[in-house]
């Protein structure tokens, strides 16, 4: 984990004039859809940036381009100073519904990414176990996904992405399908993990509270463009997230983002 600090650009992400369009056939007519219209933003090492916006605003597309699962039609994407070409071990993706491989145990799921990276033998098992412990699943290593709750599955998903020691953690609405209590405890744990690992996190959400609680900076998107960037003035570490919700600073920051999101609705 220390190796990352050698490179000054490590964990730095930048998108420059990135556009994405694709053609769809709707009722026999070929239409071009512009999912992203020349968006640009930078993310500093160890920063947590939340992408928020209504569905169809392009936030997930931006994340998938960053991951290398899709390619931009135009523009430049770089992570750690290197141009993104396809997927790489410098980025770890946490999927919306965890997407664990159902035939593997929790530990084997974490090992999957490590094996792909070339790790073998005892180191493989130890590393997987260490990351399961990091997400609080020490005792569930031998369970298969159908024996895990939704929250536990997503913890394994986070462990799997973190285990390959990426510079940047990309998260696609990872807590969206969880119940409120589970979501809150995972939000707190994610902040703890980030404080320990110092990973850059880019997190897609449509949950206003989640965005304010976790973010250093919030990027509000609309119809394929960046509408507004809002810095969250809350200090780090954030401490008890439940108590934080009750503070006037949280309310103020939340209102700022709410206004930005509502400005969108007025336009629509």
């Amino acid at each position: 984990m220390q190796e990352n600090t050698i490179n000054a650009a490590s964990g730095q992400v930048s998108l420059t004039d990135v556009s994405k369009s694709f053609t769809l056939k709707i009722e026999g007519k070929v239409q071009t859809v512009h999912a992203l219209k020349s968006i640009s933003f930078d993310v500093k090492p160890s920063e947590i940036v939340m992408l928020i916006g209504p569905s169809g605003c392009g936030k997930t597309t931006a994340l998938r381009i960053l991951m290398g699962l899709e390619t931009a039609s135009r523009g430049r994407v770089s992570v750690g100073g290197k141009e993104v070409r396809g997927c790489g071990y410098d980025r770890g993706l946490v999927f919306q519904h965890a997407e664990l491989l159902p035939w593997l145990t929790a530990a084997q799921n974490v090992m999957f990414g490590l094996e792909m990276k070339g790790m073998r033998g005892g180191e493989l098992k130890d590393t997987a176990q260490r990351y399961l412990e990091l997400v609080g699943l020490k005792d569930a290593a031998k369970r298969r996904p159908y024996q895990l709750s939704g929250g536990m599955k997503q913890r394994v998903g986070i462990a799997r992405a973190l285990a390959i020691d990426p510079e940047v953690l990309l998260m696609d609405e990872p807590f969206g399908a969880l119940d409120a209590q589970t979501r809150e405890s995972l939000q707190g744990e994610l902040l703890d993990i980030q404080a320990r690992t110092k990973k850059t996190i880019i997190f897609v959400t449509h949950d206003l509270d989640e965005a304010v609680l976790l973010a250093d900076r919030i990027i509000v998107m609309r119809a394929g463009s960046v509408q507004e960037e809002i810095r969250v003035p809350l200090p780090r570490p954030r401490g008890d997230l439940g108590a934080l919700r009750g503070t006037p600073e949280f309310a103020e920051a939340r209102y700022q983002v709410w206004k930005a999101l509502h400005a969108l609705e007025a336009v629509h």
Partner: protein
């Protein structure tokens, strides 16, 4: 200290076992057949006790076992080849756009091929021996295996493939580590379908050659109007196919133990 609420052991759900229901059902059908079958002219029909006598005679003379061995050799070779060829071919067609477009149409057409009409031609090519029987079994069994595997590959969720891609897995690794295990239920369904078709194919081939195997006993007994004797191989084959099906089910639970637990069905 004991908990007051724990007065009773939690009861395991006790249901009438499935195998017992199956046995009762089979016994009922055999008894009914025996009861009503006795009134029928023995040329037009037969009944279990008469078939049992014929079975004993065929067994004592050694005819049944040697015929069974001849038939099974051809079946095992043809069916084994169908599995060995069908599964990889189905996987490849399902994963490759080009192969799907180029070969898929032949597979679909060949599945509906009236093989009975082609057996005389195959006999002309390969003679009356073992080869033609194995070949007919292969041709009948391979297509349901290919088609099921192919459909299974297409049903693999795109996100599971993306899990592989996000860890920079090669196409071959994705095929082996993700697509293959995810497709196992479909493959097994195809392999089970192929048991029945393979058995039918074996008998058809032996009808045409009429000099060996269980099919030869059937056709020779039928020509001699010895209906009870004719039924012996028919029933032996039905029992055999049922046993093979259960065996494939066992293999499935061995290679994919997670599957029955995910679907919540015990296939007893």
């Amino acid at each position: 200290m004991m908990f007051a609420t724990l007065e009773e052991e939690p009861k395991l759900k006790r249901e009438f076992p499935k195998w017992a229901i199956t046995c009762l059902s089979v016994a009922f059908v055999i008894l009914a057949w025996e009861f009503f079958g006795r009134d029928i002219n023995p040329v037009f029909g037969s009944y279990p006790s008469a078939i049992a006598v014929a079975f004993w005679q065929l067994l004592k003379s050694g005819q049944l076992l040697s015929a069974l061995a001849q038939s099974m050799q051809a079946f095992v070779v043809g069916y084994g080849l169908a599995v060995i060829v069908g599964v990889p071919l189905g996987l490849l067609i399902g994963r490759s756009r080009v192969l799907e477009a180029a070969i898929g149409v032949f597979i679909t057409a060949a599945y509906a091929m009236p093989l009975v009409a082609l057996v005389p031609l195959l006999v002309l090519w390969m003679g009356l021996g073992f080869t033609v029987k194995a070949c007919v079994v292969f041709l009948m069994a391979v297509f349901p295996i290919i088609i099921n595997t192919w459909l299974g590959v297409r049903a693999v969720p795109k996100t599971l493939i993306e899990v592989g891609k996000s860890f920079v897995a090669s196409d071959f690794t994705i095929l082996r580590r993700i697509v293959l295990p995810a497709t196992i239920p479909y493959i097994m369904a195809g392999i089970k379908l192929a048991v029945g078709r393979g058995v039918v194919a074996m008998v058809i081939a032996e009808f045409f050659t009429a000099i060996s195997g269980l099919g030869a006993i059937i056709i020779n007994a039928a020509n001699a109007f010895d209906t009870a004797r004719m039924f012996v191989p028919v029933i032996v084959l039905m029992v055999l196919a049922t046993a093979l099906n259960s065996f494939v089910g066992l293999v499935e639970r061995w290679v994919a133990p997670w599957q029955s637990e995910i679907s919540g069905r015990d296939e007893g």
